[in-house]
Structures are given as structure tokens and as C-alpha cells.
């Protein structure tokens, strides 16, 4: 549960590929403000970009909400869409588009973040919650 006193940044972007770079730029600024190192900032940009791309794949319309909660020892990111949801444990393919590299986005998110939780609901969309801790 997030404390209401913690600084939060909320960004809402249209569910469309050309706005993903806006989300990356915002996360970069927030992480920089929190004094994350350059490698961590690159990780956060990539993870947020992948979560947004995933939202675009599963929610053709509406908006994507990105919520950054600046906690003392970590940055918590939530990327939410209003799409049809998906089973994050199911093998994915991108038939007709690319070779069998589907699901790479989730592999990257899992590898880059310290903690990842995915809640997906056919009626309520998908929320990817990611945590990046300061390296000690």
C-alpha cells in the first residue's frame, strides 16, 4: 500500500506508439531527480517502454496511466491500461508479424526491475507494477 504522503508523479498518455517516448523521458527525469545512476535510469526507461508497448498491444484504445511513487529507498512504477488483459504466464507469439520473439518485453521487465507484479483482468485491463531499488 502506498502512503499518500509520498511524492507521486502521474502521467496519462494516449494508447499509441508515438507517445511511449514521452513516458520514457518522464521516467528518466523522475529517476534522475531521485539520484538513480545512469545504468538504473536506462533500465527504468526500457522497463517502462516495454510496459507501455505491452499495454498498446493489448488495449487498442483509451489511455495508459503511469504512476511513479518516489519512496525513500525505491521507485515504484505502475503502468495501467484499460484493455482486454492477457495471461502473463501463457506463451506468446506474434503470428504474422515477427519471428518467435513474443514475450521479450516481459522477459526484459523481469530482468531489469527488482520486483514485478502483473494483474490482468479481461474487464479491468492490466496493471504492471514494478519496483527499482537503490543499489547499496
Amino acid at each position: 500500500m502506498t502512503s499518500p504522503d509520498l511524492p507521486r508523479i502521474l502521467l496519462r498518455i494516449p494508447c499509441s506508439p508515438e507517445y511511449v517516448s514521452v513516458a520514457r523521458l518522464t521516467i528518466s527525469a523522475v529517476a534522475s531527480r531521485m539520484d538513480f545512476g545512469i545504468d538504473d535510469i536506462d533500465d527504468l526507461k526500457l522497463a517502462v517502454g516495454e510496459a507501455c508497448a505491452n499495454a498498446i498491444e493489448h488495449a487498442a484504445e483509451g489511455d495508459i496511466d503511469i504512476i511513479c511513487t518516489m519512496e525513500p529507498e525505491q521507485l515504484v512504477l505502475s503502468v495501467k491500461d484499460c484493455g482486454i488483459g492477457f495471461d502473463p504466464t501463457a506463451p506468446r507469439s506474434q503470428a504474422g508479424k515477427e519471428p518467435p520473439v513474443g514475450g521479450l518485453g516481459l522477459i526484459l521487465i523481469q530482468a531489469l526491475m527488482d520486483d514485478v507484479q502483473i494483474h490482468s483482468d479481461p474487464k479491468g485491463g492490466t496493471e504492471v507494477r514494478m519496483v527499482k531499488r537503490f543499489q547499496k
Binding site: E18, V20, E50, C52, A53, Q94, K97, V101
Partner: protein
């Protein structure tokens, strides 16, 4: 929304060999531009490609998918694809997904051209 996120420069080195420079960010929005550019080259007879990543700022999973698809297309035509000068900032996603193991990496365009000629590309 118009942005200048990516620039793709291609140079035909020989009838079946081209060098492509990927400048900027290659993501879910811009990867289709890379796909179009390399598809055009392949449709025009290029089967050996060197993709120079020196000035690539960002690669996401869609971009990785495009690179893998391109590799598959040229190998189906008995060609190959080398990646040139992969900077640290874009090496990470290639390493995490183990896709770095399926590409030949070189430090310079000249090295890539020599490697591709050895693999069957027409000499410049």
C-alpha cells in the same frame, strides 16, 4: 505527433551487400521504419547486411524482433547480418534476451564487410 526519433541511412557496398546506420531510438513506434528500410534492401537483392549501432540510443523488444526477423530473412536467402559497434546502452537488452549470441558482432563497418564477403557477399 511528429518526432525525429530515428534516422536510417543505408549505403550499398556491392550488389548484394549494404551497410545500414541506425541513428536515434528504435522502439515500438520507430521499429517499423527500420523494417521498411531493410525490407526494401532485401527486396532489391541485398542478402548481406551490416547494421551499424554506433549512434543507436535505444533498442526495445520490438526493435529486437525486427533485427531477428531481418536476420531470418537474409539467412533464408543464404545471406547474413552483422551488428557493428554495439554500444553498452543497447547491449543490455541483447544480452538479457540472449539474442546477442545469434548475431555476429564487429567493431567496425570494414570488419563487418570483410566478414560478410568471407561468408559469400560480393566484394565491393
Amino acid at each position: 505527433m511528429e518526432t525525429m526519433q530515428i534516422e536510417i541511412r543505408s549505403r550499398r557496398v556491392s550488389p548484394n551487400l549494404a551497410v545500414v546506420q541506425l541513428i536515434g531510438e528504435c522502439d515500438v513506434y520507430t521499429a517499423p521504419k527500420l523494417r521498411e528500410a531493410v525490407d526494401r534492401l532485401i527486396d532489391d537483392g541485398v542478402t548481406f547486411l551490416a547494421i551499424n549501432l554506433t549512434k543507436t540510443e535505444y533498442l526495445d523488444s520490438t526493435a529486437l524482433g525486427t533485427l531477428v526477423r531481418t536476420l531470418k530473412r537474409v539467412r533464408e536467402r543464404e545471406g547474413d547480418l552483422d551488428l557493428v559497434n554495439v554500444p553498452d546502452r543497447v547491449r543490455r537488452p541483447l544480452e538479457i534476451t540472449h539474442l546477442i549470441d545469434i548475431f555476429t558482432l564487429t567493431d567496425t563497418e570494414d570488419e563487418a564487410i570483410a566478414d560478410l564477403v568471407k561468408k559469400g557477399a560480393t566484394e565491393p
